[in-house]
């Protein structure tokens, strides 16, 4: 099981069967599907985690993983997915929002009433600001409606940063020059501050998606972006979060998950909806129970 390479450091060899066992586990728990052609990539990441946890063998590591000791699942998922936040991340969902979802939402709502969109977790604000920017740039009817965008997170430091709205080049990398010039102003250290009007139009609040008491304060949302957080939770917490989110949505409201996430690993409460740009999930319209 253990091996020694030239450098004298211990490296754990992982067999094909062990990789299969691992991949089946990961697929079942998270929905992440690792293709066989990426053996080198998988082995490297596994070896890193085995070393990082001080595990003497794959078998020991796998026991640790199954028990999710010290939040190993979170570290593991992070090593297999890209988890950076930036403006216009997964913009196909934003496109779906303006091309399809808002049309339905507007029809369902009493005319003149406010469209409510929630970004949770919002982290340092890139997601709720992206929603706002995208709406202004891509929704022809944007001036005909009142839209309320809320950004929530469990991390108050992230929320403070979000309210400040100051970003470096990396966060803005997917934005065109035109949009950066239009909505941001350059400040010290090569960073940019988002327009004050936008900063003032997003409400940032602290909320924990698993906590029913927190979540009970949020109701009547038309669209929720809950991306790249549920994948880290255990089954019981995912269920709790799904039930909480369900109650925060209007009937017929939509929820978007992260690109590696699926309700198949979370909850049957929502229907699967296919649109040209994305698969999203919907709270049933009529009460079928």
């Amino acid at each position: 099981m253990d091996d020694r390479d030239d450098g004298g450091s211990r490296a754990v060899r992982i067999s094909s069967e062990e990789v299969e066992r691992f991949c089946d586990f990961l697929y079942r728990r998270t929905g992440l599907s690792l293709s066989e052609g990426k053996r080198y990539f998988i082995d490297r990441r596994l070896e890193e985690r085995i070393a990082a946890t001080g595990s003497p063998s794959f078998r020991a590591y796998f026991s640790l993983l199954r028990a999710d000791a010290d939040h190993e699942i979170e570290f593991l998922i992070n090593s297999f997915t890209v988890n950076e936040t930036y403006f216009y991340r997964e913009d196909h969902q934003l496109r779906c929002m303006t091309s399809n979802l808002l049309g339905t939402i507007v029809r369902q709502r009493p005319s003149g009433s406010t469209i409510r969109i929630w970004s949770i977790p919002c982290s340092t604000g890139e997601e709720p600001y992206s929603i706002a920017l995208w709406l202004m740039e891509n929704w022809p009817q944007v001036d005909n409606h009142n839209i309320e965008i809320v950004g929530s997170d469990i991390d108050t430091r992230a929320l403070t940063a979000a309210a400040n709205g100051i970003y470096g080049d990396r966060a803005l990398m997917r934005l065109s020059r035109v949009i950066v010039d239009r909505y941001f102003k350059p400040i010290a250290d090569g960073r940019h501050e988002i327009d004050e009007g936008l900063r003032n139009s997003i409400e940032f609040t602290r909320a924990n998606v698993i906590d029913p008491k927190d979540m009970a304060r949020y109701r009547d949302f038309d669209l929720i972006f809950c991306r790249n957080v549920l994948i880290y939770f255990d089954d019981a917490s995912r269920r709790q979060a799904a039930e909480n989110l369900y109650d925060c949505l209007r009937p017929g409201g939509y929820i978007c998950l992260g690109h590696s996430e699926s309700m198949s690993r979370i909850s049957p409460l929502f229907s699967v909806c296919r649109f040209p740009d994305a698969i999203v999930y919907q709270k049933p319209e009529a009460d079928h129970g």
Binding site: R28, S262, M263, S264, R265, P268, S271, V272, R274
Partner: protein, 132 residues
């Protein structure tokens, strides 16, 4: 081993929460010339049939979060490009009432586990219109 027309390459979606069952069906059907996708429950299966062309679903009944019969009923009420998908239910349940319920939910055919490779291939060929 039965071989099929090489040009056929019908796409089969295997829906079962058991990784070994999925592997068994996949290796059997790939050897027989089919392309195989997999899903772990009815919700993932719905996402797959909505996202990519599938010619036949093979569905287990007992799965977490969305069982096979609930999936079938949702399939039959779905958009027109998926609502008529042939569906083969392969389940541990063997009572007449289970088979009747599967048919009522939208199954085209029903096999009781464990299924022999030749039997699986034969049924998949019939349900995809692929010649033996």
């Amino acid at each position: 081993m039965v071989e099929v027309d090489a040009a056929a390459k019908a796409r089969i979606l295997v829906v079962d929460d058991s990784s070994l069952v999925r592997l068994y069906y996949r290796s059997t059907l790939e050897r027989a010339g089919f392309e195989v996708e997999q899903s772990i429950n009815g919700i993932e299966a719905m996402e797959r049939v909505l996202s990519q062309p599938i010619d036949l679903v093979i569905v287990d009944i007992n799965m977490p979060r969305m069982d096979g019969l609930t999936f079938l009923r949702a399939l039959r009420c779905g958009p027109s490009d998926i609502s008529s998908l042939p569906a083969l239910v392969v389940s541990t349940e063997s009572e007449m009432r289970d088979i009747a319920e599967a048919r009522a939910s939208g199954a085209n055919f029903y096999l009781v586990k464990p299924v022999a490779e030749a039997e699986l291939v034969r049924h998949v060929c019939v349900l995809t219109g692929v010649s033996l």
